[in-house]
Symmetry: C2
């Protein structure tokens, strides 16, 4: 998991973007049938999350519930549940592991919002906008520590290594992303390394631990890891397109958030590299963060002019193909079909 | 570890205050002889910390080195080292566990500084003042995740439970402290619960895992935990006195920082409760955070007038007595003597 190039054998993930929708979920939501397949498990995960947020410290309960109960796809925990079931697991430990994954993700979102200054998260005011940055930082820490307590339940050192490694890689990815902001010289490979770390690593770990807890053969565990990794890369690529082209506004996502933050995502990188004649525009808006009305529309126009969105979507499709290929090493059953459906969802989603 | 009252059998800790001194260490420093006793171990811990900070992400290395290499007492890792040696341990795992404890502490300090807005930390400009809040939040997360990776090295589920529980309790304590800020009605017991969570729990865990890794008898492990807990409570109580009365300024500590932040520490609580006639003063300065020149001096005078500092020091002494009593259940050797010396240090320190 060190070279995130799509030609290598490692695929990837997405988390800076909000992958949960605010209710109501659209009726054509292809996630519905997948969710139904592990409905009981998902209920158990949600109950465990609720239980863990029932503390005698109201601020923790308020902030964490605001985020975790905002209505979400629970995409990462679903990977753990489907992977465990796919490998025939019938024990109880996939539930706390799925909750672990969601807590890691939620903690990252809380800290991301502080870093980004986002006003909205999951269609609601972001926690830091309601309770302040301090509460978001400290409750994020609390969720991180809860995730570490939950992952102990399975009593598996291998599970602990995979999940704690993912958490470390995500943290590093977040710092890399911060470091890369506003730097026009960031390359496509730099970007792929960042999204591999901050997003694909958790998708990969979520799927992998499902296999480990089911004591699946190492070939199958590896296949799950590769599937999750590739799915995560595609997910983030699409996320970074949607941040410019929209579709998620009905669900409370802010359009142009990455542009406003000077985040170096692939559509932007492609536009900057393809047309040096507009360098002054990018220097002013991204490097120096001096943005005026109309700049975002102009950025969208310039990315479109060099087919930046199309190229990003094509790369996402290549990762999705890798994800599908990884599934071939796994037993054919309803759960594997569900993982295949998730591939479609990741490409087709507009929120 | 749920009732932090000094009459109960659980003593306690300190971390919001900076417990590291900037070099040079004063010549009468009673820590020197203790440090000498585990000098090789401490070197190994420092080398491991350095190694873990050698990443290809410069921002992580810069921010974390700035904090972790600022020159420090390494009090918490020393507890782990001394406890392990006290119980006859001769293996290698106390080193990564001591580093774990230091990483948890360092992560907390980075996030504390963001929450408090402190300008100084360990005699140097605080990281967030140099690199911004975002870097402090994200590098703090990175240190947290490093701590979780390091604690896996011992391959002991018991060690993992103790340390991950301590991290969770600290995180909760930090939120409790934030929640309590500016609230004049906070009681002595509320305060003791906060410092038990945010400080004593890590001192307790640091000592406890030293015993666990040495496979000490459960009675000895319990004694180490109680010792660390009581020492930590005393440490934080003294820290909260020093924040008003000073002594640490030569080492870069800010005087009056807790007052400026409206932090409800025991000296303040005692003054507020003992003399209701000054309620308006406390409402203005602590509840409404409207502070003017001369207010801090007036606060010090009012706490002194009701013997608030003396009472806080007396309570610290009671905890130190508990810490000494806990040592009676441990084998008598140089390492136990060192832990006893640490009791003196915690009471007598003026930095």
């Amino acid at each position: 998991m060190t070279n995130p190039s799509p030609t290598a054998s490692n695929p990837f993930e997405a988390n800076s973007g909000d992958d949960r929708v605010n209710t109501p979920v659209p009726s054509n939501n292809s996630l519905a049938s997948l969710t139904a397949l592990v409905a009981n498990d998902l209920d158990a995960v949600n109950n465990l999350i609720l239980e863990r947020l029932s503390t005698d410290t109201p601020l923790i309960a308020d902030v964490a519930r605001h985020l975790l109960l905002a209505g979400g796809k629970r995409l990462r925990p679903m990977l753990t549940l489907l992977s465990a079931r796919l490998c025939g697991y019938s024990g109880p430990h996939h539930i706390p592991l799925a909750a672990t994954v969601e807590f890691i993700h939620a903690a990252t979102l809380l800290h991301d919002d502080v870093v980004d200054g986002s006003e909205l998260r999951r269609g609601k005011k972001a926690a830091h906008a309601l309770w302040g940055n301090s509460a978001s930082v400290l409750v994020g820490d609390y969720l991180f520590t809860q995730s570490f307590q939950l992952m102990l339940v399975a009593e598996s050192l291998e599970v602990l290594r995979v999940l704690s490694n993912a958490a470390a890689v995500i943290a590093k990815g977040e710092v890399m992303q911060l470091d890369a902001s506003h730097h026009l010289e960031i390359s496509r490979d730099d970007y792929l390394r960042v999204i591999h770390a901050k997003t694909a690593s958790l998708f990969a770990a979520a799927a992998e631990v499902g296999g480990i807890v089911a004591k699946a053969a190492s070939k199958e565990v590896l296949a799950l890891m590769r599937y999750g990794e590739a799915l995560g890369m595609a997910f983030q690529l699409i996320d970074d397109v949607l941040d410019y082209t929209g579709g998620g506004q009905a669900f409370g996502k802010e359009l142009g958030h990455d542009f406003a933050e000077g985040k170096m995502t692939l559509p932007l990188i492609l536009a900057i590299q393809a047309d040096p004649s507009h360098k002054e525009f990018w220097q002013r808006t991204i490097e120096n963060q001096q943005q005026a009305e109309g700049d975002f529309a102009q950025a969208v126009q310039r990315i479109t002019a060099v087919d930046g969105f199309t190229a990003t979507r094509l790369l996402a499709e290549r990762y999705i193909n890798q994800a599908r290929e990884a599934l071939a090493d796994l037993p054919a059953n309803h759960y594997r079909d569900a993982l295949a459906d998730l591939c479609d969802f990741c490409l087709q989603r507009d929120f």
